[in-house]
Symmetry: C2
Subunit: 161 residues, 2 copies
Amino acid sequence: MRAGTLAEPWQSVIGELRRRGLRWTPRRRLVLEVLSEASGHVTGAEIVDRCRRLDAATVPSTVYRTLDVLEELGLVRHGHGADGREEYHVRPTDEHGHLHCEACGGRWELDASEVGEFMAHIERNRGFRVDLSHFTLVGRCPTCGGAPAWGAEAAAWISDR
Amino acid sequence: MRAGTLAEPWQSVIGELRRRGLRWTPRRRLVLEVLSEASGHVTGAEIVDRCRRLDAATVPSTVYRTLDVLEELGLVRHGHGADGREEYHVRPTDEHGHLHCEACGGRWELDASEVGEFMAHIERNRGFRVDLSHFTLVGRCPTCGGAPAWGAEAAAWISDR
DNA sequence: TGCGCTGTCGCAACGTGTTGCATCAGGCGA
DNA sequence: TCGCCTGATGCAACACGTTGCGACAGCGCA
């Protein structure tokens, strides 16, 4: 396996782990290596897969446990896509939410400036602090437009009570 | 099994199925029976479980397929909880979103009046039509309050780049 | 350097949901 | 009433993720 090619800020992870009494191990190094080459969004399965390509002996449970640890360190965040799958965001220094089109599967980022006011509104009215990185809106993009798949037509016949 | 105890509007489901060339079968009746006694939110696993209590021979794949069909008819909608599990809403005539506390697991409904303006804002700016029943905000409720689990502290050490 | 505490790993089993396929049966037309 | 077409079902296998547990090994300390 390659030698110390991890870029900053990944290096600081080692120190941070130690500071918390946690350990720096080959498996964690592997996961970090995969993450460092995958900024953006990756599903859990994808991460496991890439780890396996680097080391065929990789076991899923270890990867997921490592991701939990890294999330606690703030290095990654995870949410769930429209299909409910785990989805990891690497280095969420620029926290953001997502739009997910249920028709074409497309996704777009939603940055803090677009939702900040709404989040503040919810916090004022409900005292509820919204976590932006879990903020995923599902619906239809401009291209797929129109009514959602289940349709107003479907809703109509049932509304007769 | 009990005889024709399904209340309206469940009865109309039979006709609607036929209208679409689909069939009314004992299995579908079973699922509908479970749903009719479970207004609110139920996870897929819960529905399967309740079906099994009524008929031990129930098989998950059939239940999930039936739920898909019922969703197409507009009788149920599904979304994903904060843990990514399937979550069905029965008879979403009163469509709404959800708040989900990541600390205590509590959940609250978010009705259209609270988010309508924001949804309109997203549609104006992005042309994206948000599906309210998939609208789930994850964060911390007033009781669990404060910073989310991953903490500002955690974010701080990484922000050195 | 060597020891020991405790965090980490691999494994196996499980939970939830999906998919492909062969078979069964609802319901329409003759 | 009977037969046929096609949708529905059960089964088995799979995909993704989680959990419990015993064995292993990182790393602090003497």
